[in-house]
């Protein structure tokens, strides 16, 4: 313990040197802005920054990338809360609750909660990385594709909490999303599925087109045709400056702790990452909440849980990367490349052979999450000013940004067409009360579920019992079953109650 504290102290000394500190701030700023712009993801930002690090020393280069990473996972929440446009799929659950809070005139509160929850989640996960990395890495190695499949099922099971008006509506939406996720060339066998000889369908539907279309374009169309003033204009009267609700976080402390814990654990599993952790955390939060019926209407607990899990996953992902040398996501894969370029070899010996660099990275992560409170506040303030822009201007530029965001995915106009088509679908779904979140979940989690399921079957001779004979998988699947059955049981009990 004393050795870790000494190493961490030395790490802080390095990270606080002016140049290194500035790199953290710059990285955070780039990450937050890139994360907030739809179509430009945190991954894009890390890739764009990578070449600039070649000329830097090891420490500033890595701190710059750490800053982009930490800021990027948070940035998408700002536009999600303010405009219903999540910058990244991982920010989707935050958007469900945050945007509703904004529509109720509580945008400042929602932004403040998001900033504080992100910083808390990221800070705790960085400390976890400092003190518990090696034993946690050993635990993470016990997960196979069987357990990963169960975790994804747990995320999908939370669909039972997402259909506010109709469970069948939520299921239709979920299965439609799962179906969209199967379109394109299948990864294991290379077989085209549902492409019908349409060239762009052969490469599949990028879930970002679905995300931008359903949320942003659908919302714009809904606002244009809605009678009365546009919600954005209404909200502008109350939404100006985000506030930091330090005291307001106390009643939400358990949501914060649960979200962070889920983020660290799920983020630490290679292949799962921030997106899965945010969905799992949100679903779990609804199950344990005393007011589950308020989820989807602007529930602070749901926002705090998902947001803290997103940044909580950063420490978990770094554990996997630093101790095992296995990147768990595309973002950490790029970061691993940067580590190798700068002479750092992630793996079991890293914490002893290159302790100075490792603990500087960890100190940088801790600092980044503290600085993020100030930078997140400034960024939220700047974006919140856009709420004062008249709806006519705002809606027009949202459509243009969606165009560019969709085109930027693959430099292909087909993605733009798809985005706009999904926009019309989003409008129709809003108008006919078909829940959008389950469809998004299906598109994002479906391909993961299929890959983990098929790989598990190949590895276990098509023996389905493997999902319940492996203890961790069995527990997760049991929790998933409870998640689906519990609301039905509660409704049944309410119906039987006298009066």
């Amino acid at each position: 313990m004393s050795e870790i504290l000494a190493n961490l102290g030395a790490g802080f000394v390095h990270a606080l040197q002016l140049m290194n500190f500035l790199m953290i701030v710059l990285g955070l700023a780039i990450g937050i802005v890139a994360g907030a712009l739809p179509g430009i993801t945190m991954l894009n930002a890390i890739v764009l920054v990578l070449p600039f690090t070649y000329l830097m020393g090891i420490v500033p280069a890595l701190l710059l990338m750490i800053g982009v990473y930490c800021g990027g996972v948070f940035g998408g929440s700002i536009t999600g809360i303010l405009f219903n446009i999540p910058g990244d799929p991982m920010n989707v659950p935050t958007t469900w609750e945050g945007y509703r809070l904004n529509r109720k005139g509580q945008g400042r509160y929602a932004l403040g909660l998001a900033i504080m929850s992100s910083a808390f989640g990221g800070l705790v996960s960085a400390l976890f990385l400092a003190f518990f990395a090696p034993p946690f890495a050993k635990f993470a190695l016990t997960f196979s594709t069987v357990e990963f499949f169960s975790v994804v099922v747990f995320g999908l099971a939370s669909v039972s909490v997402l259909g506010h008006a109709s469970l069948t509506g939520a299921l239709i939406s979920l299965f439609a999303g799962l179906f969209l996720g199967t379109i394109g060339t299948e990864a294991q066998y290379g077989v085209e599925r549902f492409a019908f000889n349409v060239p762009f369908l052969k490469t599949g539907i990028d879930f970002v087109t679905v995300l931008i279309g359903l949320f942003a374009i659908g919302e714009v169309l809904d606002q244009i045709v809605a009678a009365g003033p546009a919600p954005a204009a209404e909200a502008a009267k109350t939404t100006a400056v985000p506030r930091l609700p330090l005291l307001d976080l106390w009643p939400l402390r358990w949501s914060l702790v649960r979200g962070t814990a889920v983020g660290i654990v799920v983020g630490g599993l290679a292949g799962a990452g921030a997106t899965v952790s945010s969905f799992v955390s949100y679903g779990l939060e609804k199950q344990v909440s005393s007011q589950p019926e308020l989820f989807g209407t602007g529930h602070a607990g749901g926002l705090v849980a998902s947001e803290s899990s997103v940044n909580g996953s950063t420490g978990g992902a770094m554990i996997h990367l630093l101790t095992l040398g296995i990147p768990g996501s595309a973002a950490t894969a790029v970061m691993m490349g940067a580590f190798l370029i700068h002479g750092i070899q992630p793996g079991p010996l890293l914490f002893t052979k290159q302790a100075e660099e490792v603990y500087t990275i960890i100190a940088g992560m801790i600092l980044a999450n503290v600085i993020m409170i100030a930078l997140g506040f400034l960024a939220a303030l700047s974006f919140a000013m856009l709420m004062k822009v008249p709806a006519a201007i705002l809606n027009t530029f949202i459509v243009v940004f969606c165009f560019v965001g969709a085109y930027a995915l693959r430099n292909d106009m087909a993605d733009v067409w798809l985005t706009m088509l999904f926009g019309v679908l989003g409008f129709v779904m809003r108008r006919y009360d078909l829940p959008i979140p389950p469809l998004i979940m299906g598109v994002i989690l479906g391909p993961m579920a299929e890959q983990f399921f098929l790989t598990s079957m190949v590895a276990n001779a098509n023996d389905l019992s493997v999902f319940i004979t492996r203890p961790i998988s069995a527990v997760i699947l049991m929790m998933s079953a409870l998640m689906v059955l519990w609301p039905a049981f509660r409704a049944w009990r309410a119906r039987r109650a006298p009066g």
Binding site: I172, L178, T182, P390, N395, T396, F403, V416, A461
Partner: protein, 175 residues
């Protein structure tokens, strides 16, 4: 919404799912031995989709017959497109699709300028000065951000439009 239209949507969902299910027949031809193959997962999903649509259909029919179902069919909680300006909706959708359609041949810069002006007017902006300022500043700002800073090869258009776009880029020192 009338009963026929309420039934039509879930019924179409069931039929579409079944049709897609039939189209998965050839997917497992590549599989040798006891493997689930690439057709397994889509079939599972489509069966689930068909079952969910069927459940919705039953729910709608039961509701129409006696209101015994506890679950309100979709479309009742919010009355679809009733009470909204259908002409405005159609114009907005048409304008968005026209924007995408034309931008490939006329280039992003010129089309975006036209789109910003037209869409702002559709959304209720009437001041020519505001529309012109947003069109000009917005288009130039977007070009600097995405073409100059992010190196995004946005569509330049074909023939004379490409020449105009390139001239604009040179004028703005983007190229």
């Amino acid at each position: 919404m009338g009963p026929a239209r309420r039934v039509a949507a879930p019924l179409a969902g069931v039929l579409l799912s079944l049709a897609l299910l039939l189209s998965t027949r050839g997917l497992n031809q590549v599989v040798h031995g006891p493997q689930l193959g690439p057709g397994f997962w889509p079939r599972l999903v489509l069966i689930g989709l068909a079952a969910a649509c069927l459940a919705k259909l039953v729910s709608v029919l039961r509701h129409d017959r006696g209101g015994r179902s506890r679950e309100a069919p979709s479309g009742e909680a919010r009355d679809g497109v009733a009470g909204i300006s259908r002409a405005k909706l159609a114009a907005a959708i048409a304008l968005i699709f026209l924007y995408v359609l034309v931008s490939e041949s006329a280039g992003f810069a010129l089309t975006t300028a036209g789109f910003i002006a037209a869409f702002m007017w559709l959304c209720g902006a009437r001041s020519p000065l505001v529309i012109a300022a947003n069109t000009l500043v917005g288009t130039v700002g977007l070009l600097y951000l995405f073409v100059k800073a992010v190196y995004l090869p946005l569509p330049k258009g074909d023939g004379p439009f490409e020449a105009v776009t390139l001239a604009l880029y040179r004028l703005l020192h983007i190229f």
